[in-house]
């Protein structure tokens, strides 16, 4: 989150991706950093014990969201 906000400050459209256990934490931290609108995308938990196929499916599901987060 800190990095993403920093890049926004530098004028670089940015987005971060996290698992959905971070929804509340992201909301709190983005507000604390002064940028509650920071773009974020959440993928279903879990991550670390997911298979490669499951991880690829999570990526496939958010491609459109990633592009949309970086454009107007």
């Amino acid at each position: 989150m800190h990095d993403t906000v920093w890049f926004e400050i530098q004028g670089k459209p940015s987005v971060f991706i996290a698992s959905n256990v971070f929804v509340n934490a992201a909301e709190a931290q983005s507000a604390a950093l002064g940028l509650p609108e920071v773009r974020r995308i959440f993928v279903p938990h879990p991550i670390q014990d997911a298979t490669d196929d499951e991880m690829r499916a999570k990526a496939d599901a958010i491609v459109d969201e990633v592009i949309a987060a970086l454009v107007d």
Binding site: M1, S14, A18, G34, L70
Partner: protein, 143 residues
């Protein structure tokens, strides 16, 4: 919130940052030597003998600077950075994302970066490198 010191609590002190210099009888593990509170008002409880404990609100008092989201263009162009935060399995998702984005945005250069640890913000040199080389940033994957 107020707490009354127990039998081993420190003696009362007007300034709580004089640990070691006053007539304290024993260290009080719940009374760090904080010097001010959010409101500036000390919380005092007295019971029996003169005892006072000062408890300070530890939450951040600062109001963050309100920032604006960077204006987005209508389309992605130039270079897009994929920043891996070094969490296990994140690289699999990022690799797939890289392939999918490359197929969708063939005119865009996609560059991968990786910060040394997810526990801290990226090193300043890496941030500067990305900011210099990329027009867009995607950071992943926190779990």
């Amino acid at each position: 919130m107020c707490l009354i010191g127990g039998p081993s609590a420190a003696q009362p002190s007007e300034t709580s940052n004089n640990r070691g210099s006053g007539p304290q009888t024993a260290p009080n593990p719940i009374v760090p030597p904080y010097t001010s509170s959010q409101t500036g008002q000390r919380c005092r409880e007295q019971k029996g003998m003169q005892r006072m404990t000062t408890i300070i609100d530890p939450t951040d008092e600062r109001v963050p600077i309100r920032r604006q989201l960077t204006r987005r263009p209508e389309a992605i162009s130039g270079t897009l950075a994929l920043l891996d935060i070094s969490k296990p399995r994140g690289d699999v998702l990022i690799a797939e994302l890289e392939a999918r984005l490359a197929a969708r945005l063939p005119e865009v250069t996609i560059k991968r970066y990786k910060k040394p640890t997810f526990t801290k913000p990226a090193p300043e040199a890496l941030r500067r490198e990305i900011a210099q080389e990329a027009d867009f940033v995607v950071e992943a994957l926190a779990d």
